[in-house]
Amino acid sequence: MIPTVFSARRIITMDPSRPEATHVMVSSDGRILAVGGPEEMRGRGELRYDERFAEKVLMPGFVEGHAHMMEGSVWRFTYLGHYDRIAPDGRLWKGIGSTNALVERLRDRAGELADGPIIGWGFDPLFVPGDRLSRLDLDRVSTTRPVMVLHSNVHLLTANSVALEMAGYDENTDIPGVVHTEDGALHGELQEMGAMFPVMRRVGASFRSLSGDPEAVWNFARSACRAGVTTSTDLLNELPDDTLADLFAMTGDEGYPLRLVPMLSAMSLPPEAVAVRAKELRARSTDRLRLGGVKIVTDGSIQGFTAQLNAPGFHSGIDNGIWNIAPEALNTLVDELNREGVQMHIHVNGDGASLAAIEALEAALSGHFRPDHRHTLQHCQLADRAQLRRIAALQCCVNLFANHLYYFGDKHYEVTVGPERACRMNPCASALEMGIPLAIHSDAPITPLAPLVTAWCAINRLTDSGRQLGSSERISLDAALNAITLGAAYTLKLDGELGSVEVGKRADFAVLEDDPYVLGPESLREVRVWGTIFGGKPVQAGSF
């Protein structure tokens, strides 16, 4: 089989011993054979030259260290969010700025779809002026079909009269979370899961339907390709046998262009069974389905006021802090997994949660120190420098939620945690200064899957309104690009195999129309992505 040589305007390798190149030789089985200039592409006999990227820029395929398969499935519903967003099929959905625009879009979609429910997602009333979206607005979409709008925080929904009637709700309903207007009629807004459940169940929009069916798994790869991503996590999956069989089948398809890293939910099994299952899964990994990691969820979210915050707590709003696992149970689980040599990714949003995780890891690692464990704190948005020093001492990694700075930054500054903490949240510079291995992420579909945008967020720390949150926590372009390639690969223990352009590594590349160094750090998010090269094979965005 003849190796292929790709040439490019520039290849940013992320390998400090050879930061730049113009040519890369890849084998037919998808490994890098040579990196350098034209003269260095020799010694392998006959070569095939592929010049199609001669005017483009290659980087190692981006690694999304924290995203969810739901990014692939949620698009079966209609997008109603504030920010412009591109669906896996390439369709641009403009942000929704008014109730009329929302009604119009749902009406259009009602026409496009066959009969059945009309369901929207991603709606954020804070960005829509005027009266709060109500049943009567959605009755303008349809008076014969159920219409349901899921809010972006996923704790609220608004339903039309048909949908409310299906759930048996009427003006006499006296149930917490079912909102009435002042004159006693149903408003249409339903608050919290309990009140939402009867509608979602009957409308056919359960969260179960948002798990990874074949279309979702392919859509996920489509979204990834558009963003130059060749490796992505699916950071919480119960991984039952039937799901696993589907994932093996789909990622085994010759044309599937994404290395998928699903993390086993530690809450899906009794604690003593988690390590056994994780190790069993690890042994079954393939080149495109990487198994063996475990995810633990401790608290909720900051914007949902469900994070665990240390004193003084939330800046304003009601503290609804939740634990998804009791701190004592976390200690037991972390100790067990560490002892069994299973790598953990621990969701910690608030500083109370990161403290609980740090304490659990300190206890576990004191009992059984494992070199190179790479236990990773995910989100870790509010850890202060004292906590970071302890994280550094434990040799843990952090995967910080840099996208929050842009997408939720104004809210954090004004409402949730206040100016001081908002200006030090997701402290990328401090983490690097202390030598903590760093990745940054999107948590797609919570925010869009686009590592270059995530890197832009970490570099500039600008909010949607243009406010800069803590200039001292900004990081350099080099550091940010590292965090979305090698840095993220490191947190997945895949840095020996991908994340940089080096001989012997997988031939996975992001193909860029623009050079990040020419556009510069302020404009990084404008870099256009052509697609990827996956295992040596070019895959253009939108081509599958």
Partner: protein, 302 residues
């Protein structure tokens, strides 16, 4: 099809939820479907549950926006698919679950019928749990959200700790009945409907969902039984709930005075240790109705 009755057992790790659940299952009076809301608990939790008389649904805990898992939704969907093959659904909540979140499913879903929420507490550790800055709030919310409080390990806990915990829990939630054994009284409490509205009225924090008001009414010494009953009866349609222990003139034992579901009862009862006598807690959607009740009681029996 009649809606499926649901009971929720909550309580922190090691409080005795599983022991209570097993003893309920051992009674084998009904076909019980069990939902275990957590694996993050102690390692032995699930294996401890006797499987003889119940089907068990296991679900992982979690808030959807935060975990992206649909565990709770899916578990309720599965439970509902059992239809009339079971008589009761008992949810053993995770140690860190707030009962209000779980109860809201059973309250809203027309195919479910939300019955008593039970907070299980371990008298030996409860004070310590409540004082723990990390989980004190959750443990408190479990007691405040319950219709009944079950004090476990009554056989081994010291009298002093039982007394202390009885007082602590009554202070947090004066409406909840207290139980120390799985007896007929407890089974009756289990069958009663969940009264989330009244419990919410006692919550200390401001809550925009709170529609009921509460008022604590202190009676003068030794009111007359008939007169007391008569006055409360008069307010039966405006006062949603009322509870308290009263020492009436000429009656040796204290009376447990309760108004629930429009029915008033005044039954002789042992005064729980640490419980203050002649003090009534009343709940109503109408704060003015409570003021009128207090005025009537004050004039008549003070």
């Amino acid at each position: 099809m009649a809606p499926l009755p649901v009971n929720i057992l909550c309580g922190y790790l090691g409080a005795g939820k599983t022991t209570l659940l097993n003893r309920l299952l051992e009674q084998r009076q009904e076909r019980i479907l069990v939902m275990v809301n957590d694996f993050g608990d102690i390692a032995i939790d699930v294996s401890l549950i006797s499987r003889r008389s119940a089907d068990t649904i296991q679900l992982s805990n979690g808030c959807i926006c935060c975990t992206m898992g649909g565990g709770l939704f899916e578990a309720f969907e599965r439970a509902l698919r059992f239809g009339n093959k079971v008589d009761r659904l008992v949810i053993e909540a995770s140690g860190v679950a707030e009962p209000r979140r779980l109860a809201s499913f059973a309250l809203a879903e027309p195919d479910l019928d939300c019955r008593a929420v039970v907070a299980v507490t371990d008298p030996q550790t409860l004070p310590e749990r409540l004082a723990d800055p990390r989980i004190g709030k959750v443990v408190e919310s479990q007691i405040r959200g319950a219709d009944a409080v079950f004090l476990s390990r009554a056989d081994i806990a010291s009298r002093a700790s039982m007394r202390r915990v009885a007082r602590l829990t009554a202070g947090l939630n004066p409406l909840a009945s207290q139980h120390r054994a799985l007896d007929g009284v407890f089974m009756q409490a289990l069958a009663a409907p969940h009264d989330g509205r009244s419990l919410l009225a006692l919550a200390p924090e401001r809550d925009h969902q709170r529609l009921f008001a509460s008022r604590t009414i202190t009676l003068g010494p030794a009111p007359e039984r008939g007169r007391l009953a008569e006055i409360i009866e008069r307010h039966r349609h405006t006062v949603h709930r009322l509870k308290g222990y009263v020492r009436c003139a000429g009656i040796e034992r204290p009376l447990l005075v309760q108004l629930a579901g429009g029915a008033l009862s005044l039954d002789p009862a042992a005064l729980p240790e640490g419980m203050q006598v002649n003090r009534l807690v009343a709940i109503s959607p109408d704060a003015k109705a409570l003021a009128r009740l207090e005025a009537d009681l004050g004039l008549a029996v003070a």
